[in-house]
């Protein structure tokens, strides 16, 4: 397999990386770009801990090839903070107690961000649907829902 040079736009920065055509975006983010906020939980697209945004939409980076993500806008958890301040969504996760072990948190926050960017005032049902593909073993999801509903004005 021949490695290719590709260009990735991650958190508004451009990176040039040599990758195998079958290398996942998750692996490139974590190992090449050292953006380890994106987590590897199952490597088969089930748990949601590897969720990143591509052009604003949540995707499983463990099921996405790095070469497919070229010329698209990738956002990871490291791209959220502006000038060192937590975003309101991050603050809501903090104040509402939506975080325990923290392993699902980056994927949850990015999934919530995608929802809220598209639909700033989702209903509870829409929030549940949005996070139904992200697993959490610590919280029972109650305070995650509450944090997102807080952003939705609920």
């Amino acid at each position: 397999m021949k490695k290719r040079l590709i260009s990735l736009n991650v958190n508004d920065e451009t990176y040039e990386v040599f990758v195998n055509p079958n290398t996942t975006l998750l692996k490139v983010l974590r190992e090449e770009l050292e953006l380890t906020g994106t987590k590897r939980g199952c490597d088969e697209g089930v748990c949601g801990t590897c969720t990143v945004l591509i052009d604003g939409r949540p995707v499983r980076s463990c099921l996405t090839l790095a070469i497919e993500a070229q010329d698209r806008k990738i956002t990871t958890i490291e791209g959220l903070q502006q000038e060192g301040d937590l975003t309101p969504l991050q603050k809501a996760f903090l104040s509402e107690g939506a975080v325990q072990c923290g392993f699902c948190t980056p994927g949850m926050i990015l999934t919530a961000k995608a929802l809220l960017d598209e639909n700033p005032s989702p209903t509870e049902e829409e929030v549940l649907r949005a996070i139904s593909g992200n697993l959490c073993r610590c919280t029972g999801y109650y305070k995650i829902k509450k944090a997102i509903m807080k952003m939705a004005g609920g």
């Binding site: 939980g41 490291e78 072990c101 509870e124 919280t139």
Partner: protein, 771 residues
């Protein structure tokens, strides 16, 4: 107890800013210079002798730097019984056992190396069912059982598959059965579960030229992990260092040596290069730990008025191929298997049994969810038989303060009855349900934290700018320990939480702690931190006494200052600077240290299971649930859940709620659908796709949480633990509600739609046949 500045307040958690920004580091996020990646070849047969391992092809791969087999690293480990090889030697005992491992410069090359290894096995007859495994003539899984070093917690029976036998004897059960008005005998069973912490197990190990082994891990007992490694390899404790990263959930699965064992074995072969081992999700299922399935036979004798007079219980714990913490789970949970009730005659036999299944160990509740399912299901069977309300029956038999338990302990703090009343009240117990397919159920529980793991030390450093550092080996496993410890120190020394930093565990620098398990950290480490803060106060008073030339009895510590009866007032910052002449640019600190351990703690007598103080504290809780059953599909819908727990004292309400909600979610998975499906030792569903854990859609949205604060005399500000209890009564509460709704009694969890539907069909057929 009032007037606290920060105890009892929902301050935001101090670990969370790192976690919402992706900057909390877990083991797999670490990258060290020269680091290699390890992969494991695992057994695909349940029981066999290894005749030959051919690694020659793997060694020829240029990126491969080491291959290791059990015979090259011939050590055994095990906290309670030293039965488990780092990599197996000569024999495999379960599918998924590590046979050989490869370290290479990339993960892919290591996997290629693993795939090229050839192993020749000579199959042995396997045994999977624990009750078959203890029959005479069953294949022996550990022929050398009698030679393994083991702790007193583990009572193995040589030349058998009984890894441990726990006994409890109180009163005369047979006589009481004769005198009882009513006898009931039932068998209950639970299934294999997996913890499914979202972070897979991972470890990095390094052997350095000085002979020291350093392991980076999210292990829940850093000092326990150190001890297990050092004892296994017969090396000094000072030659092992455990550096902790954040743990992405463990729930009991990250306590022993799992990925650590492989990383250490590989690192021994490539001295001076760190080796990282990260398990795949499939390996997490096959080769870490499961929750024990237990078969529980329980006979109970009751008087007409509902008073329980005797219980005889046999428990068969399927512990799989190695002991791990199985003997302890068997002991602690079997011991409490008669329930939180005042019963004069109790006989319990708990058998922890080796089989050729993957290893079972502790999982949130340490065996109590299994035994609570049995004793609380049986309580409702008694209530039904005697036509007594299930809540009333429980209140009639529930333990009270100063009652003597089955194991002979006098209970010092218990809020059980209030929990039962609150949970029931929240559900409007006694009011009929609205629909014929709806029903209500209630259940309660008891669980202890053992005194055997009681020792806990802490260091608190008061810096000369007024900030604090807490050095602790408590692990932040997601439960919020860093925040709670900050609150204790803040309250004691009047330092704002923003000026307090809590260390992560590093066994070279942070003092001994038994482990972060069993809901013990708030109580144990909380006490240690408080005592270390009080050590600072004591030192401050001595220092002021010395340089102001005042007797100590005229000085006291108040709101961060030393004050005298004569009106002197000196802050700790000022004190440090004056005492150490800091004005000339020096500096200094005040270092408080303390060790906390449970006073008058005891073990349990090997023959009778009796002990005066085996528990540091007991936790109690109750849950009430209303469900609706779909008669066509057998699916259970939870309409409302009320959960009430005696936490002693709430230190941080938000954190308490977090624990209740998470434990409840895990209890619902245990009750309704979680089952690791094992056929002939092979896990059929080793993925998060085929083994279902609750998603947001599987959980009720109508949940009420109630806290009861019955203070513990030794607890920090009265606090007890609370991480595990809410997992325990859930399954029985739902099974009891199912009975209330439909009249069907299912005695095996999970309560799947298939089982419920089959039972409903049977009833319908019966009623048609009889009409």
């Amino acid at each position: 107890m009032g007037n606290h500045k920060i105890i009892g307040k929902s301050i935001p958690r101090v670990d969370v800013p790192l976690k919402v920004t992706g900057k909390a580091y877990y083991v797999d996020d670490l990258k060290l210079p020269g680091m290699l990646f390890g992969k494991v070849l695992r057994s695909n047969v349940p029981h066999a002798l290894i005749k030959r391992i051919d690694v020659s092809e793997a060694c020829r791969i240029p990126e491969v730097k080491a291959v290791v087999t059990g015979n090259e690293f011939p050590y055994r480990h095990g906290l309670l019984i030293r039965d488990e090889p780092f990599l197996t030697q000569d024999k495999v005992r379960y599918i998924g056992e590590a046979v050989a491992a490869v370290a290479a410069t990339t993960e892919e090359a290591a996997q290629k190396g693993v795939d090229s290894i050839r192993v020749t096995y000579e199959p042995l007859p396997p045994v999977f069912d624990p009750q078959q495994a203890i029959q005479p003539g069953a294949p022996l899984i550990h022929e050398e059982l009698s030679s393994y070093p083991h702790s007193e917690v583990c009572q193995p029976i040589p030349n058998s598959n009984t890894c441990s036998h726990f006994k409890l004897r109180k009163g005369d059960v047979e006589r009481a059965f004769k005198e009882a008005d009513c006898l009931l005998e039932n068998t209950y069973a639970t299934s294999f579960n997996q913890h499914c912490a979202l972070e897979p197990h991972a470890a990095i190990a390094l052997f350095d030229p000085s002979g020291k082994i350093t392991v980076w891990t999210g292990n829940d007992g850093p000092h326990r992990c150190l001890r297990e490694i050092a004892l296994s390899m017969s090396i000094p404790f000072s030659n092992v260092r455990i550096i902790s990263a954040f743990q992405g959930g463990g729930f009991g699965s990250k306590g022993g040596l799992r990925a650590e064992a492989i990383a250490i074995a590989l690192a021994s072969k490539v001295k001076n290069r760190p080796v990282k081992v990260v398990y795949t999700r499939e390996e997490v299922f096959t080769s870490t730990l499961l929750r024990h399935p237990v078969s529980i036979r329980s006979k109970v004798g009751v008087m007409k008025d509902g008073k329980i007079v005797a219980k005889k219980i046999e428990l068969f714990w399927n512990t799989g191929a190695y002991g791990e913490k199985g003997p302890w789970v068997c002991r602690n949970a079997s011991m409490s298997a008669s329930g939180p009730y005042n019963i004069p005659n109790v006989w319990i036999d708990g058998y922890c049994i080796y089989t050729n299944n993957p290893i079972s160990g502790p999982m949130r509740g340490f065996g109590v969810p299994q035994v609570a399912f049995a004793y609380e299901s049986q309580m409702d069977e008694i209530a039904h038989e005697l036509k007594i309300d299930p809540l009333e029956l429980r209140l009639k038999n529930a333990l009270d303060k100063n009652d003597e338990t089955a194991w002979g302990e006098r209970i010092v703090s218990i809020g059980l009855k209030e929990c039962l009343r609150k949970a029931a009240g929240g559900l409007k117990w006694g009011e009929p349900t609205k629909d014929r397919n709806r029903g209500k159920g209630i259940a309660c529980m008891q669980k202890f934290t053992t005194t055997l793991q009681g020792v806990t030390s802490a260091i608190v450093k008061y810096n000369h700018d007024g900030s604090l550092a807490i050095l602790t080996s408590s692990m932040e496993v997601g439960q919020g320990v860093m925040t709670v410890l900050s609150q204790f120190a803040s309250e004691e020394l009047n330092v704002p939480v923003e000026k307090i930093r809590v260390s992560s565990a590093d066994t070279d620098y942070t003092p001994f702690d038994a482990s972060t398990t069993g809901s013990r950290s708030t109580y144990h480490m909380g006490n240690a931190v408080i005592l270390a803060c009080r050590d600072i106060k004591k030192q401050a008073i001595s220092m002021v006494s010395e340089f102001l030339n005042l007797p100590k009895k005229e000085l006291k510590f108040k709101e961060g200052k030393v004050v005298s009866t004569k009106g002197h007032e000196i802050s700790v910052i000022e004190l440090i600077n004056r005492y150490y002449d800091g004005a000339r640019g020096g500096g200094g600190d005040l270092v408080g240290r303390a060790t906390f351990h449970t006073k008058s703690g005891t073990g349990l007598d090997a023959e009778t299971g009796r002990g005066k103080r085996p528990a540091a504290f007991w936790m109690y809780g109750a849950q009430a649930v209303e469900i609706e059953v779909d008669p066509d599909t057998g699916k259970v819908k939870i309409l409302r859940f009320c959960t009430a727990h005696d936490v002693g004292k709430i230190i941080n309400p938000l954190s308490c709620e977090q624990q209740m909600e998470g434990a409840l979610a895990m209890g619902i998975g245990f009750a309704l659908f979680e089952k690791v499906d094992i056929e002939e030792g092979q896990i059929m569903n080793p993925s998060l796709e085929s083994y279902k854990i609750p998603t947001v859609y599987d959980l009720p949205q109508d949940v009420s949480i109630f806290f009861v604060e019955e203070p513990h005399p030794e607890g920090p500000y009265g606090a007890k633990g609370l991480a595990e209890p809410a997992t325990a009564p859930t399954a029985a509460a739902i099974a009891n509600a199912l009975f209330d709704a439909t009249g069907i009694r299912i005695r095996e969890v999970p309560l799947t739609p298939e089982k419920i539907q089959a039972a409903l069909e049977k009833i319908q057929k019966y009623s048609v046949d009889n009409s």
